[in-house]
């Protein structure tokens, strides 16, 4: 089954199948994005979206509330497709670029 995936409203949202699933103003816990072991990233805009296996990913512009780093991230997971439907990542999940551990 094919899905549509895009940024919407010039970076306000990650849109999956024409539903606004993630976006600006969210707080994400992140690894390997800033100087913190686990950073507290305020998402200010979605720059790009992608797919990695079953994971839906996004590159976002934002700022870490702990170390103050302003950055555009690599692809971070926002959710995954399970049995044909999209499931967002839990709010508190720690996100990291797939190739970093």
């Amino acid at each position: 089954m094919s899905h549509s995936l895009r940024t919407l409203d010039d970076g306000a949202w990650v849109s999956v199948d024409d539903r606004r699933e993630a976006g600006a103003s969210e707080l994400w816990r992140v690894r390997s994005v800033c100087d913190c072991v686990v950073g507290d990233l305020l998402v200010e805009g979605v720059v790009d979206v992608g797919v990695d296996g079953r994971a839906v990913t996004a590159r976002v512009a934002g700022r870490c509330l702990t170390c103050d780093r302003e950055t555009v991230t690599g692809h971070l997971p926002v959710g995954r497709v399970v049995e044909g439907s999209y499931r967002p990542l839990a709010t508190g999940a720690v996100r990291a670029p797939p190739n970093v551990e």
């Binding site: 549509s4 895009r6 919407l8 409203d9 010039d10 970076g11 306000a12 949202w13 849109s15 199948d17 024409d18 539903r19 606004r20 976006g23 600006a24 103003s25 969210e26 707080l27 507290d40 305020l42 200010e44 805009g45 720059v47 700022r63 509330l65 103050d68």
Partner: protein, 591 residues
Amino acid sequence: MPTDVERWKSETYGNEIREHLYEFAEEGWESIPDDEHDAWFERFKWWGLYHQRTGQESYFMMRIGTPNGVLEPGQTEVVAEVAEEYATGPAENPEFGNGYVDWTTRQSIQLHWIKLEDIPEIFDKLDAAGLSTQQACGDSWRNIVGCPVAGKDNHEHVDALPVAKGLNETYKGHEDHTNLPRKWKVSVTGCREGCGQGDINDLAFEPATAVRNGEELKGFNIRVGGGLARNEPRIARDLDVFVDSEEAIEVGGALSALFRDHGDREDRFSARMKFLVDEMGAEAIRELLQEEYVDFELDHAGEDLRSEYSYNAGRANGGHADHVGVHEQKDGTYYVGLNVLVGRMGAADTRELARLADKYGSGEVRVTQRQNILITDVSEADLDALLGEPLLADYSPDPSPFMRGSVACTGTEFCSLSIVETKNRQVRYARWLKENIDLPSGVEDFHIHLSGCTASCAQPQIADISLRGMKTRKNGEAVEALDVGLGGGLGEHPRFADWVAQRVPADEVPGAIANLLAGFEDRREGEETFREFVERTDEETLADLVVPEETDYDDPYMHNTKLTWYPYAEADGMDEGPAPTDRDGVSLADD
């Protein structure tokens, strides 16, 4: 690869969108196929409709473009009527009630909670009054801004209104200029104060005098590539071109065509004119314009009036910094500028405004880029009676500087990009400052602009105090916060604010401003303005003066207002709102 937006635009864009809108309106919200939402909502923007944020599905923001901010006699009443009848939502705003008009920083009008099903009726009413939502959003000519008293101002250099109107009539709906790579914001200024704010627009016409055939000729210099959004603010750059009023229309279209052909359609983040000017340079753009887009020899820039600019400039040079108050027009009548706090006015008040404009003036109302409104053409004999009207107690022609200086964008109430609540918060800030703080003597203008995100719709970077939405942690909780910037302003030498304090919890911002103003008063030299003080003070000292502090100011919006369906609702959880709803506002069970 072309972006999705470019693909959708190449399929259906421009005037034809209106027919589709009417079909969807007829069939109802649910007739928009689920997998075509993104495409249609992008297209609807061209007709001035912006789908509201998550939690408010099926409701739209509607923008009405009023060229140069002019509402002709009769139009204000229709705006009030539409707001009253169609712009009411499922919950009240505690400051503004239900059904209100936003006068915007680009001299337009915004209404919220509009139902798709009501659009044909609304368009009928607007059409009949000569009002339009066409191209108010989307990738094309946006509402043209300018000095709101063009044609009336006692001292203006040249009447720019015919140029603003001419550009609007020529290029709104013009097929060749329908689909641009990105928005195209145009400003036309003819006055000496710089009220058109050309420096923050894609294309600016600025008052100037050139010598042609040995004779002095009044007209405009052209600047290009200004804009505030996305942490990449740019001041428009001098194109070294002078035009008279007629040439202005032609060259405006030529520059829009140049942008259409050369702007970046691969990446929306670098599509705006400001980036094309970065890339090519103003000189190369001038050459290209001359070679391929105009068929007469362009004049070089004439003598400008920039040294006199006072609007949003933070200088006490004798010119006005806004249009609030009573001012004489060149025909001997007066305009009365009313302060509309954060630009929002209830529908009933808007109706009363229309009545007062009819009774005491010509019926005309004008909107300024500081979210205020003007009643024009009032004869001297009627001034006192107008000033005594009850409406003017709420929308004062002589407000506290903190009321007068407040500008705020839409924020989390409706906007997808926003990080914090804005308008209601700014209303509370202004009230608290008015009650608790005295400005140093002689300081009459003090501008505080609050934007919910870096898109900068409230033009924060050109205020005395610049506020921008952020978040921080306070006692372990994520709370709404603001970055604080200083030193911005327009004028002869425009400058954008430096962000000297980051992530100040929103409830500590009034305290921070109070402390900063106390520091200013202590260190002030002579009669200097706040901007002048900031300019001669180093950034470290300034940062030290911004001391965040809790006060008796109370902020009811500290929690993450974006996680609510509506920040002021009794039950505000994302799943507790009724959206999407049917044509009568009844909740449609979500699949």
